[in-house]
Symmetry: C2
Subunit: 330 residues, 2 copies
C-alpha cells in the first residue's frame, strides 16, 4: 500500500468549489416504504438528477476545467460504456472543448445517442476484440488531445467525491446519524472519492462497495490485498459496471478506506429497479441500482438502531425497452 494516496479531502473541497452552481446538488431523499423494507432509516442520494443522468458529470467537469487554456483547442478523448461519455461530452460543451468518445458498439443506444446529442464525436469499437484504451490513446496522440480517464485520475476521483460532501451536509439537515454508505463500484473512482470526503469528516462511517456478480474484482481485491481481475466471459445487465479490475489510483484509496465489498446478482438488481419504480418513483439504470439491491436483498449489514444507511443511486440512463421489460416483470 503506498504511503500517499492520489487525493485527499482538500482535493474534494476544491472540486466542490469548482462545480458549485454548475453541477446539480442532487437531493437526498427518504421514503417510508424503503425504511420499512430495510428495517431502519435509509437516505437515498439520487444522481439520476445530475446533468446527463449520472454522477459522471462531476468528475468530468472537474477534470476538463483543469486543462490549461492553450491545450483546450486540441480537444479531449475519453473511452466509456456510456455515462462517462455523456459526462465528458456535457462538460466539454460547457467549456467549449471538442470531445471524442470511444464507446463500445453494444453500449445502450440511449447512451450513444445522448453522447452525440451533446456534440461529441463518437468512435465505436468491438468490446470483445478491440482495446478501447489503445484506440483512445492513438486518437489522443494523433490529435494532441488530452485523455480523460473514466476513474483513474485524481481530478476525476475528487469530482465524484463531491457527492460525499453533499451527503454529510444533507444528512445533517435531515437530522440523521449515518453509520454506513453503500456505493456501486466498477473502476472504483466514485466510491474512492466519496470515501475520501466522508472519512475525513466522519471517520466512523463505514463504506461498502457494491458490485454485480461476475464483476466482483474490488470485493476480491479488498480481501486478497492486490488488484484482481474479472473473468473475460463474465456478463451482467449492469452495463455501467463492467470494468475488469480496480484502478491503480482508486484501489489504494479503497483499500485504506472501505469496510468491504458486497455482491448482487442481476435478479436482485431488477427487483431493486422495480422497487424504485413502484415505491420511490425514480428511474434507475441497472448499474445505478446495485447499492439499493444490496440493501433490499439483505446483503448489506443492518445499520445500528436509530442510525441511517445512505444508498447512492449513481445513474439512470436505461433504454426504455429494457426498462419496460424489467418493471413489467417480463
Amino acid at each position: 500500500m503506498p504511503d500517499s494516496l492520489a487525493i485527499d479531502a482538500s482535493d474534494v473541497r476544491s472540486a466542490a468549489d469548482l462545480i458549485q452552481g454548475i453541477a446539480v446538488r442532487t437531493p437526498l431523499l427518504e421514503y417510508q416504504p424503503l425504511n420499512e423494507a430495510a428495517g431502519g432509516r435509509v437516505l437515498v442520494k439520487f444522481e439520476g438528477a445530475q446533468h446527463t443522468g449520472s454522477f459522471k458529470f462531476r468528475g468530468a467537469y472537474n477534470r476538463l476545467a483543469r486543462i490549461p487554456k492553450e491545450a483546450r483547442a486540441f480537444g479531449v478523448v475519453a473511452w466509456s460504456s456510456g455515462n462517462h461519455a455523456q459526462g465528458v461530452a456535457a462538460a466539454a460543451k460547457l467549456l467549449g472543448i471538442p470531445a471524442t468518445i470511444v464507446m463500445p458498439a453494444d453500449a445502450p443506444s440511449i447512451k450513444l445517442e445522448n453522447t452525440r446529442a451533446l456534440g461529441a464525436e463518437v468512435v465505436q469499437y468491438n468490446r470483445l476484440t478491440e482495446s478501447r484504451e489503445k484506440i483512445a490513446r492513438q486518437l489522443a496522440n494523433t490529435r494532441g488531445a488530452t485523455l480523460v480517464p473514466s476513474f483513474d485520475d485524481p481530478f476525476i476521483i475528487a469530482g465524484q467525491g463531491t457527492i460525499g460532501l453533499e451527503i454529510i451536509d444533507q444528512a445533517r439537515q435531515a437530522q440523521a446519524k449515518v453509520t454506513q454508505v453503500l456505493v456501486c463500484c466498477s473502476g472504483g473512482g466514485l466510491i474512492a472519492g466519496i470515501a475520501t470526503a466522508i472519512k475525513a469528516a466522519e471517520p466512523d462511517i463505514k463504506l461498502y462497495a457494491v458490485e454485480p456478480d461476475g464483476f466482483d474484482d474490488t470485493a476480491r481485491s479488498l480481501i486478497t490485498g492486490k488488484r484482481e481481475t474479472v473473468a473475460p466471459q463474465a456478463t451482467s445487465i449492469c452495463d455501467a459496471l463492467l470494468t475488469p479490475s480496480p484502478g491503480e489510483l482508486t484501489f489504494p484509496i479503497n483499500q485504506r478506506l472501505l469496510a468491504g465489498g458486497l455482491v448482487v446478482i442481476d435478479d436482485q438488481v431488477r427487483a431493486a429497479m422495480r422497487f424504485a419504480f413502484s415505491k420511490m418513483k425514480l428511474v434507475i439504470e441497472p448499474g445505478g441500482a446495485v447499492a439499493l439491491a444490496a440493501l433490499l436483498a439483505g446483503i448489506a449489514p443492518t445499520a445500528d438502531e436509530d442510525c441511517a444507511t445512505v444508498v447512492v443511486i449513481s445513474g439512470s440512463n436505461v433504454d426504455p425497452v429494457l426498462y419496460a421489460e424489467i418493471i413489467a416483470g417480463r
Copy 2:
C-alpha cells in the same frame, strides 16, 4: 362570487405547522434538458416523493388530525379513484383511525392494492352506474364515521396548499424569480391551496390549472363564471383527474386567484411521461404529468425572460404494465 373564501393563507401556515416532520418536504428540481425544451428556466415540484406517491397525504393528514379525539374511534370514510384513498389510509394509520375507502372497481390495481396494504378497508363500486358519494355517506352514517372529502373541505385545501409555501421557499433558495405556476386540476383542491399560499406571498405570480381534454370543467368554468360539468361519456388516461365539476369551496378560490385554465390531450401526457422518464429520471402517472405536458407541448405561456416556471408533478402511482407501454412507445 362569495365575499369570503373557504381558506386563507393562515390556514395553510397552520397546516404546514401540523404536517412539519410528518409529510415529506418534496424536492424542487431543475433539469437542463427541460430548461432547453421549455426555452426558459423550469423548477419541478416532485410530489411523487411524498408519502403514498402523491400530494394527497398532505391534505388528508391535515384533515384527519383535526378530528376530535372522541370521534376518531368511529373511523373515517372517503371516496377516491386512488390517490386520495392512499393519502387518507396512510394518515389514518399514523393517527390510529380506522379507514374505509370507496373506490371505483376500475381504479388502477396498484392504487387498490396500496390502499389495502396501508390497512384501509376498500369498498368497490361501479363508476358508471353507482354514486360513490351516496355509498360513502351511507357508510359514514351507519358507523358514525367522519366523511373525508377529496377536495371540497377547508382542511384538505389548506393541506395541499403547503406545497405552495415550499415552492416559495425553495425557489428563493434556488435564486429563481418565479412568474408562473402550472398545476393539474380535477376537483381543484390542490391548485386552490397552492394559489392561496402563493398569491398571499407573491401576488404577481400567475397560476394556471391544467386539465385533460374532455375534463376541462375548470377551464370552462373560469370563462363562464359558473361551475360547468364534463360530458358523462368523457374518457382520459388521467385516472386521477376525472372529477366531473369544480368544487363548491374550491371554485370560488380558483375563480378569484387563477390566471386561467389549460387543456392537454392524452398523447401530450404520454409524451411528457416519456420526457420525464428519459430526461428527468422520474416516474410520473398520467394525471401527474398534465402540467409538464402543457409546458412541453407549448400550450402554457412562456415565462418572462430570466424568470422561472414552476411545474407541479402531483403524483406517480401508475400501473407498471401501462407505464411500460407508454415509455416503450407501444
